[in-house]
């Protein structure tokens, strides 16, 4: 039942997004604009500053993710549909997992566009260790989305939610961003530093485990008014 409900919520979000394409387009536009602004500012005569690529990639992911989180839950606010989901005869944490998977999928699509873009503009060798790079991106995205999904759901009925979400989210996800940036930087080094990247990946996985567990544990209590 738990996984079925999570899947139903994910499929419903996907069906809405396929129709409206609102969140995907705005997230992509925002993320690509972010990379382009950095590229115009930092790349001089075809030379990119060393070590800038990982930071720019993760800043774009973080900002685009915040936008996607806000829009995803704004959709549930219209018509108070989150209350209908909470009323369903299912474990309430399953709703959290469904929303989390949706955000992770959306950000993964954004990353499919962002990674080649950053690699192109900043001449960064993102595809030398593709598997480890993909794992770092997934682990970082899950960590960011795990905290973000919980906070976005909690703040849904707060009038100043758009301001409060980044204020609450960014300080707590700093370890994820540091892990993502440092791990990515290690893989972009010449030669790639796999040991360091693997260490940061392990830290990210530990962070993901802690925050997904905490979110599952607290979701029901936090969502009851």
């Amino acid at each position: 039942m738990f996984l079925k409900v999570a899947f139903l919520v994910l499929r419903k979000d996907f069906a809405i997004e396929v129709k409206s394409r609102e969140i995907l387009y705005t997230t992509l536009l925002f993320a690509v604009s972010c990379v382009l602004v950095f590229a115009f500012a930092l790349v001089k005569e075809g030379e990119a500053p060393p070590d800038a690529a990982p930071a720019i990639l993760w800043i774009a992911i973080m900002f685009a993710g915040t936008l996607a989180l806000g829009r995803t839950f704004e959709r549930e606010r219209y018509g108070e549909t989150l209350r209908a989901l909470l009323l369903a005869p299912a474990p309430r944490p399953a709703l959290y997992v469904g929303k989390l998977l949706g955000i992770v999928l959306l950000l993964s699509v954004a990353e499919l566009v962002l990674v080649p873009l950053v690699a192109f503009f900043f001449l960064a060798p993102f595809f030398v260790k593709p598997l480890l790079m993909a794992l770092l991106l997934v682990a970082g995205t899950v960590g960011f989305a795990a905290v973000g999904t919980l906070f976005a759901a909690m703040l849904m009925r707060v009038r100043t939610r758009d301001v409060l979400l980044p204020i609450l989210l960014y300080p707590i996800t700093v370890p994820v961003i540091i892990g993502g940036v440092r791990g990515t930087a290690a893989l972009l080094a010449s030669p790639p530093d796999e040991v360091t990247a693997t260490m940061w990946l392990a830290i990210l996985v530990a962070f993901d485990t802690v925050f997904v567990t905490l979110a599952l544990w607290t979701f029901e209590v936090l969502m009851t008014e």
Partner: protein
């Protein structure tokens, strides 16, 4: 232990939001077959009470028993027996009527093929089943939302202004539906400002003002006069 109940009992239930008191030491007992009209002016606490009964709002003090068990000991099994039609309609505007009902049917563990077409027919929306809800009038949305709330044949039916936006024929159909639900052993809470519609439909009346229960009595005709006597205009 059965996953069903035939009564709902509230004992000294209070709820405040910050410094605002929404409900104050409210006690009520409702049995299967009752259609309880929740009447009171705006801000009386009717919607908060429905939210509590739906397990979406927790009381600060007091207890709500479903049969002989509190909500925290039921979990999902209790929610399977509750249907809520709130003021906000709990529909996805971007999805079609059929997609909305199918989603909620699956969420309640029902086979959509067995319930969705019949629900669309009752809502009078068979012809518009594959249109997005965003293009529906308020009355059409209201009818669809009511069917969504009743899709899983709940024991406890919580309705907040169910007649909003409905034409005369739909009002009659919804009233008949509520009587039928009560006759089949449902427990119906009906929060409304429309005293003329409530008159003759409700079997009991609870009058609430400022979060306090002013009166809990068997319904009789002349509801408006009784309301004015207790609550004022």
């Amino acid at each position: 232990m059965s996953d069903d109940f035939d009564s709902v009992r509230l004992t000294d239930v209070s709820r405040h939001f910050g410094r605002r008191r929404a409900l104050s030491r409210l006690s009520l007992s409702v049995r299967a077959g009752d259609v309880l009209g929740l009447l009171g002016p705006n801000g009386a606490g009717k919607s908060t009470l429905l939210g509590m009964l739906a397990t979406l709002v927790a009381p600060n003090s007091g207890e709500i028993l479903y049969g002989d068990r509190p909500a925290r000991r039921w979990g999902p099994a209790l929610r399977k027996r509750i249907g809520l039609l709130a003021h906000e309609l709990h529909l996805y505007a971007e999805l079609t009527a059929r997609q909305n009902l199918t989603f909620f049917a699956e969420l309640y563990g029902l086979d959509p093929r067995a319930v969705v077409d019949a629900a669309l027919e009752r809502a009078g929306l068979t012809e518009r089943a594959d249109d997005d809800v965003a293009g529906f009038s308020r009355g059409m949305r209201q009818r669809l939302a009511l069917e969504r709330a009743l899709l899983h044949r709940p024991r406890l039916v919580l309705l907040d202004e169910p007649f909003t936006g409905l034409d005369d024929r739909s009002v009659g159909a919804v009233s008949d539906r509520l009587r039928q639900l009560a006759a089949q052993g449902g427990i119906v809470f009906l929060a409304t400002h429309d005293l003329d519609l409530a008159d003759g439909l409700v079997t009991r009346v609870a009058l609430i003002r400022d979060g306090r229960l002013l009166s809990d009595e068997t319904a009789s005709t002349g509801l408006r006069a009784r309301y004015r006597a207790l609550v004022g205009n």
